[in-house]
């Protein structure tokens, strides 16, 4: 997939960041350099290879369904500027 204005618009909309022209140039250059590396992969046989998403295959770790203490309301809201009563408040 070529990196054109449409691609950049899609990325910006997904990540909710407005990129400057210089940033777009740098990002395009970096992506293209990784794309160059992908061309060497044609010589690799991936038949019967499973993907690795994590180093060890740990099963989902559960705990007993017991009530345990957690953060207080004060602690939860300590670092926000967007609070009203006991809720995070934002404009839609």
């Amino acid at each position: 997939m070529k990196i054109n204005k449409k691609t950049i618009d899609k990325i910006e909309d997904t990540i909710k960041i407005k990129l400057t022209c210089d940033e777009i140039k740098e990002i395009t250059k970096s992506i293209n350099s990784i794309k160059d590396y992908s061309r060497n992969l044609n010589q690799i046989d991936f038949e019967n290879i499973e993907p690795t998403y994590r180093v060890f295959n740990l099963n989902t770790v559960l705990r007993e369904d017991e009530v345990k203490s957690s953060l207080s309301r004060e602690e939860v809201f300590k670092n926000t500027l967007n609070k009203e009563d006991n809720s995070f408040k934002i404009k839609c």
């Binding site: 990325i11 407005k18 770790v61």
Partner: protein
């Protein structure tokens, strides 16, 4: 030797023989940081409560001689490890007001140590120079015009400059080992899952590990002993029987088979670094090790695999910084405006680049050819290590392909340095960087890689390398 460069055991003796109190040590260290930090910029935050903590611990030491070895000893933490009540910034404007309301597991474990401060880093751990922090550039204590490496550059500098008896950093693709090499200190990236990541602000969740940065190999083993534990708060934390990493530390490497992977000794490797490492290998052979050339055939594909995976994971991990729970803007007209304002203004260029790259690789039309393929390649890279460790005990390689660059040098676009460290994170095996000498008065690191959970073997070899290298003259004239 100046007290600030002493080993953990030596400082412990002074504390327990009451030749110095934890409070005096802390006050004097804070004075030293005050003198040196302006030049070095190793610290973002100094712990205002350090002296009070030292007073509390003094009492503990007076009453009980059998306290933990790290009790009363000042340490530092990379500023992506959260600390309850103490500013934690990740080197970013996004978190410039963030005071965590809970503690990381590692900091809770070290509660009777004296947290002296939070060290500088590349923003959110994304970098290899400690030039990208919102809080300025950290300088290499061996040459103030050079970078200390990154992203744990602040930690490596603090330890090398005698401003911290040890530090904890984090390593996603070399971020402990490379700055340790550039700053002439020991840096260990443990096996993935050995140290709890609870409280480590994530970059690449399947790659990140916390690890010790120390001046001496024995200190590294002491710190590792302290921070290894299964943690229910980290679902990737391993349940393993605890090992005493000090027990066999001095047993040497006789009959160890040491593999030298040819892919790590490319023509682009600085010849002086190559010669230093080869000299050490010859000395190890004289001490009874069996040296064997080996191959990790998928090494060069690590760049594709690592950058896809690390950046994809970063883009997901940093999505939480939306301005709602932690952010710096209150006035906005819509939620989109809030997101865009917060994220555009508060992330630096490197972080925006990482998030953008990761998002690109995860787009529906790209996923199969990029991210998915990267995970298949990761399987092959991991398998290379698993196969080679059937034949050898450890591997030895360089940590960096060149000396520490100058701060004003243009960033290197070739990935030679990355290839020496990133595959270790993809596989999840442990590796240590140990100083093996100097070139042009700048330190050089040697990397020892081990099989899963074989930190004991790599520490044993690192101890021998340290003794071959000989006494280290710290740069006390800063």
């Amino acid at each position: 030797m100046e007290v600030y460069y002493k080993s953990i055991k030596d400082i412990k003796k002074l504390l327990y023989n009451k030749e110095i109190s934890s409070k005096e040590l802390t006050i004097n260290l804070l004075k030293k940081i005050n003198e040196r930090n302006e030049k070095l910029n190793a610290f973002i935050t100094i712990n205002e409560r350090a002296i009070i903590e030292a007073e509390r611990v003094n009492e503990k030491i007076k009453k009980d001689k059998e306290v933990h070895i790290l009790t009363g000893i000042p340490y530092s933490l990379k500023d992506n490890i959260i600390t309850k009540g103490i500013l934690t910034t990740c080197g970013s404007a996004m978190l410039k007001d963030f005071i965590p309301t809970y503690d990381s597991t590692v900091n809770m474990i070290l509660k009777d140590g004296i947290l002296i401060g939070k060290t500088n880093l590349d923003e959110f751990g994304m970098g290899d120079s400690t030039k990208t922090s919102f809080y300025g550039v950290t300088k290499n204590p061996w040459n103030l015009k050079k970078v200390p490496g990154g992203s744990s550059g602040g930690s490596a500098t603090a330890v090398a400059a005698g401003l911290s008896f040890y530090s904890l950093g984090s390593d996603t693709g070399g971020s402990i080992r490379q700055p340790a090499a550039f700053c002439g200190v020991v840096g260990l990236k443990p096996t993935y899952g050995l140290i709890s990541r609870n409280g480590l602000i994530s970059y690449g969740s399947s790659l990140d590990t916390i690890g010790p940065i120390t001046r001496y190999v024995e200190d590294c083993a002491i710190v590792l002993n302290s921070i290894v534990d299964h943690d229910k708060l980290d679902s990737t934390s391993h349940k393993k029987n605890k090992i005493d990493y000090l027990k066999n530390l001095n047993k040497g490497i006789k009959n160890f088979t040491i593999g030298i992977p040819k892919e790590y000794f490319k023509d682009t490797l600085n010849p002086s670094i190559r010669n230093k490492i080869m000299d050490i290998i010859k000395q190890l052979e004289k001490r009874g090790a069996i040296i064997k050339e080996v191959s990790l055939p998928h090494t060069s594909y690590g760049i594709f695999s690592y950058y896809n995976i690390a950046k994809a994971e970063a883009s997901l991990n940093l999505a939480r910084f939306d301005g709602i729970r932690y952010g710096t803007f209150k006035n906005y007209d819509s939620i989109d405006e809030m997101y865009i304002k917060n994220r555009s203004d508060n992330f630096g260029t490197q972080v925006k680049k990482s998030i953008s790259m990761g998002t690109y690789f995860l787009l529906k039309e790209n996923y199969k050819d990029y991210y998915k393929k990267a995970t298949l390649m990761r399987t092959l890279i991991k398998s290379d290590f698993e196969k080679v460790f059937k034949d050898v005990d450890i591997l030895i390689t360089p940590v960096t392909s060149s000396e520490a660059p100058y701060i004003d040098e243009k960033p290197d676009v070739n990935y030679d340095n990355d290839l020496l460290t990133i595959n270790i994170n993809l596989a999840g095996v442990p590796a240590i960087s140990v100083p093996c000498g100097k070139i042009n008065n700048m330190p050089v690191g040697l990397q020892i890689i081990g099989d899963y959970f074989k930190e004991e073997k790599i520490l044993r070899c690192a101890k021998i390398v340290e003794s071959i290298r000989g006494k280290y003259e710290w740069n006390t004239d800063l």
